[in-house]
Structures are given as structure tokens and as C-alpha cells.
Symmetry: C2
Subunit: 324 residues, 2 copies
């Protein structure tokens, strides 16, 4: 392996493109963002990325010889055989040969995967999952996303849709309608959106709660408000946290029974609640899973934040080039 070379990580979103140079130890040398040009169905995106990388190299007094390859995370459903995009609604791509186009634009080997999977690979390589080869990463944000890694590799499934843990059915009777059109998905309970909705809808019956007072002042509630109140032992807030962690714990326990993974890595905005989330979650998982499965399981918070994606990209291209 050539020493002191870099890979490029590219985490493509509908608004901006996060990029980074990453060395062979998985450390970020430099990171930056450019806006995503959605005009003409995204046809300028690969060109913009290539141009930006070349400018950045020049700024740093380096040439393209410094780079061994580029890993890229894209939203949507991906054909992992050839790195093309079946469909990425936010970008406007349909049956778009992303890997081929990016290789043409940059003149380097390129590997492509789904953005949620790459965040999981990043955490596996250099984040909270370090050392584990069997892990589940779950992101509790506006929605609930996930990536499943077994024996060091992402599970993609037949249509690249594996890891959609947010759409596991949690409430079988009378659940809320999810963005997917079904009802009672885990995402309707354990996302920031779901927690806020739960807290607000019960407020009128809990005027004694500090959340009621907060709502009167802000005319809204955040997930942080709920967990702050729970930390203050507010009974209503605690009941919401218990409801959320019970359903999250049930879904995760069932997955753990099936996959017997070593680490459960929890990221996203909701995970900022720390022990106020993790303590009741751990308690529910202990009760709902098999003793032997629980014993082998470690529940940890994600540590890489927004960098997980680009670091996962670096792992992906290094792996493809047999440099790991």
C-alpha cells in the first residue's frame, strides 16, 4: 500500500455536497461543502464535484497523484453491482450511471453506496462501532434510518432497500400514518417528529407538566424539551420517554434476536439526549431480548456526527481497492 495517500469522501445531499480528503488511517485531512446544483436533472453534479476537488488540491499544493480513489454516498436506491442509481427523487436521477459518470469526471476509481449505509460503515471503521464486525446503526432524526453490517459488510438485500428499520411496524393498532403511507411505523414513534407529536397531543391532559409551561411560552415543543423535562423527573415527560424507548427497544430487541449483533450504534439528533434515552432503552431491551443475545450486545452513541458519511465513503473505496 502506497503510504500517505488520500481518498475523497463525497456525501451527496439534496441541498449540499459534503466532501473530505481522508488519509489511510481514516482521519479527515480537510473537509468542505459545495451547493448541490439540481438544474437539468442533476447533470452538472459530477462535474462540480470534480472541479471542486481539483481546486482544493491546488490550494493544498497537491496534485491528483495524491488521491487513490473516491467513495460516494447518494440518497435513494442504488444498484450495487455497477454503482448506478435506480432512483433518487431529491436529485432528479432515474437509472443514472453515477459511478461511471463520476469516474469519467474525476479520472479515479469510484465506489457508490447509499448514504445511510455509508454512515454505518463510517461508525464501524472509526466511530462508536470500532472493532465490531456485526453492528446495527440507527439514526433517530427527523425520520428513523438504519444500516445493518454483518461480518464487516453492509447488508443490501435484493433491491438495495435493506436497513429500513424506521418502517418496522411498532404500533399495530391505531398508529399514526407514516410518510411511507402505512401506519404505526417505528418512525412515527421514535423520530424527533414523532416524539414532538406525542408530547404535544397529550399536553391538555397534563397541565401540571413543565412541558405544558414550556409550550405556553414557545407555542411549540422540541425533543430536547421532552428529554430535559424527563431529566427533571417530570412525570408526563418520563411517560413519553418510556413509551418511545419501549417501542424502540421492542423493535431493536427483535432485530437483535435475529442478527445477534455486537454493537448497537445510535445516532441522530434524538441521541443527544444521552443517558436519559439510553438508560430506559437499555432496560427495555434487556427485558425484551434473549439473555445470551443481550449479554453480547453493547449499546453506544454514534461518535462521528456528520462526518460518519464521508469516513464511510473512504472505507468503501479503500475496500474496493483492496487497501484495507
Amino acid at each position: 500500500m502506497e503510504k500517505n495517500q488520500w481518498t475523497v469522501g463525497v456525501d451527496l445531499g439534496g441541498t449540499s455536497i459534503k466532501m473530505a480528503f481522508i488519509n489511510d488511517e481514516g482521519r479527515i485531512i480537510d473537509k468542505w461543502e459545495i451547493p448541490t446544483d439540481l438544474s437539468e436533472k442533476g447533470r452538472f453534479i459530477t462535474r462540480d464535484i470534480a472541479k471542486s476537488i481539483e481546486e482544493k488540491l491546488e490550494q493544498k499544493g497537491e496534485t491528483k497523484d495524491k488521491l487513490v480513489g473516491l467513495g460516494m454516498g447518494a440518497p435513494g436506491f442504488i444498484n450495487f453491482e455497477n454503482g448506478s442509481i435506480f432512483e433518487a427523487v431529491n436529485i432528479g436521477w432515474k437509472n443514472y450511471p453515477l459511478q461511471e459518470k463520476m469516474e469519467e469526471a474525476i479520472g479515479l476509481p469510484v465506489a457508490v453506496d447509499n448514504d445511510a449505509n455509508l454512515a454505518a460503515l463510517g461508525e464501524m471503521w472509526k466511530g462508536a462501532g470500532e472493532g465490531a464486525k456485526d453492528l446495527l446503526c440507527i439514526t433517530l432524526g427527523t425520520g428513523v434510518g438504519g444500516g445493518v453490517i454483518s461480518n464487516g459488510a453492509i447488508i443490501h438485500g435484493i433491491g438495495g432497500m435493506a436497513g429500513e428499520i424506521g418502517h418496522i411496524t411498532s404500533i399495530t393498532d391505531g398508529g399514526y400514518t407514516c410518510n411511507c403511507g402505512r401506519k404505526g411505523c417505528l418512525e412515527t414513534v421514535a423520530s424527533a417528529t414523532g416524539i414532538r407529536r406525542l408530547a404535544i397531543e397529550g399536553l391538555e391532559k397534563h397541565t401540571e407538566s413543565e412541558l405544558y409551561t414550556v409550550f405556553q411560552k414557545q407555542q411549540d415543543l422540541t425533543t430536547k424539551d421532552v428529554f430535559d423535562a424527563a431529566r427533571n423527573q417530570d412525570a408526563y415527560a418520563l411517560s413519553i420517554v418510556d413509551h418511545v424507548t419501549y417501542h424502540l427497544g421492542l423493535a431493536l430487541s427483535n432485530v437483535a434476536i435475529l442478527l445477534n449483533f455486537q454493537k448497537l450504534v445510535i445516532g441522530g439528533g434524538v441521541s443527544m439526549a444521552g443517558e436519559t434515552l439510553l438508560e430506559p432503552l437499555d432496560r427495555h431491551i434487556k427485558a425484551l431480548t434473549l439473555p445470551g443475545v443481550y449479554q453480547g450486545l453493547e449499546i453506544v452513541r454514534a461518535t462521528l456526527g456528520n462526518d460518519a458519511g464521508v469516513i464511510g465513503c473512504a472505507w468503501l473505496i479503500n475496500k474496493k481497492l483492496n487497501r484495507l
Copy 2:
């Protein structure tokens, strides 16, 4: 690859040991059984297997040169790194170096895995899963067991406990106590034992049902009685089948959402019900999973029956020897 050689498949149970010679196309050349000698904590088992194989070879006018290796399925928890058994309660083994002992006894390369996983590999190679690399095999028998195959390989998990789909929590409130000590496991609902119990416990309220008449005659009910009555449109039997297939479908849908597998292979005694089981199961899975996941999924009955294990053994040792 040497042509016309055989592997030996050995499916070890607490009562008998199923064995077979299998050719390179995965066809069984000959199969036979010997009793399992549980005396002295199972120390004679590997010797008995080796002896029986040598006798069988002689009967067939062949020598050991005909054999390239032996694959073995054992009950219990297995260390897949070295083929040793952490614990097999039925046999009496604890930290037993099975692969090493078997290699010494037979003088051939040996590979060991869990018996449920090998049945799944058998179905993948030559049974209902043929052609699929992402599949879930579930066995609905006295209990409910499973094997998860992703990208052509068994998922073992960190402690070799993956695939315990029978212990996914199905009934969250007031479920029956399972053999594992927890309550409401899928096994308490979707096993032959569970279906029989469900049918008998509601009989007094359904004296109009043909199951009531059958019970009066036999003083017992079987799973077959329940499905036979359902096939006759008996309302009570249909309500039990709906309850069972709803909970089975919910568990399997959640797994499908997570893993996006291509084939769901259903085996075991309960699967003999055929369409009376599969039709309502398919309907529930369609309603409970994501459209894209359902679209890529095929639900099929296992085709190898009791031979799945030994055929999986043959695949395992061929794979280990890079002959596949």
C-alpha cells in the same frame, strides 16, 4: 475440481445421526442413519460416524479417496472460527472441539455449523431457495427455528445465536410463557405446539366448530386438524389461522423490511398446510411490509424436507474447500 467425488453430510441429532454421500451436483448418492450414543458425554460419536462411513464405503465398493471432506450440523451454540461447540445440552458437550475430533477420526477436512443454519444452506443450494443469495428460512415445527442468509452466507452474529426468529416477541401483552422463559415469543403462536394450544383453549366457546367434534372423538387436536377445518371454511378454524398468520406475517414483514431478502422459505410440519397457510400469510405480509420490499419477495415452501441438513453440510464443506 476433481470430477465424480463425494462429500459426506452429517446431521447430528440427540437421538439419531443422519448421514449421506452427496455428489458435486448436490444429489444424494446414498443416505442412512445410526443411533446417537450419548454415553460418556458423547465421546464415541465421532468414532461411530467415522466407522459407519467406512463401512458404507466398503458396501458400495469405494475407498476413502472418493471423499473430499465432511460437513457436519450440530445442535447448540457453535464457535464458527474453529468448529468447536460452546454447548450442546442434548448431547452433553461443553467446549468440545468437534471439528478437530471429527478430523482426527475420519482423516478428512471437516466443517461444522449449526443444524438450523445448514438446513437453510441446503434449501439455498438445492431446494426452494435455489438461485437466491438473500433468503430467510423458517421452520414451523414443534418450535420455530430459522436461518438467515445474506449474500450467500449464513449470518451467525457475535455469539452464533443469530436466526432465533422463534423468539421474536409477537404478543406484547398477556402472551404465553415460552420455553426460553420469556412471554409471547413467535414460537408460542406459530409452532405446531402453539397452534394446537390456541385451538384447544377456545373450543368451549365454539361448540359449533367441526374442531369441537374432532376433539370429542380424539380427545386432542393436531395442527393438521386445524388447517383441514380451515380448508372446509370452518369459521373458528379460520379465525385461528388468521391469528397465527397475522403474527407470523408481522414478524416476517419486520424482518423483510430490515433485510430486503428475495426468498422466504417455509418448512417444518406446519408448512404442510400449503396454501391454507401461505395464502393468508402472503396477504398479511403484503399489508405489513413496504411495497418495494414485498415486490422483491417470493414466499415458497421448503422442498428438501429432512434432507435439507445433509445437503447443507455438503455445501458447507465444498465452500470451505473452494469447490463451489
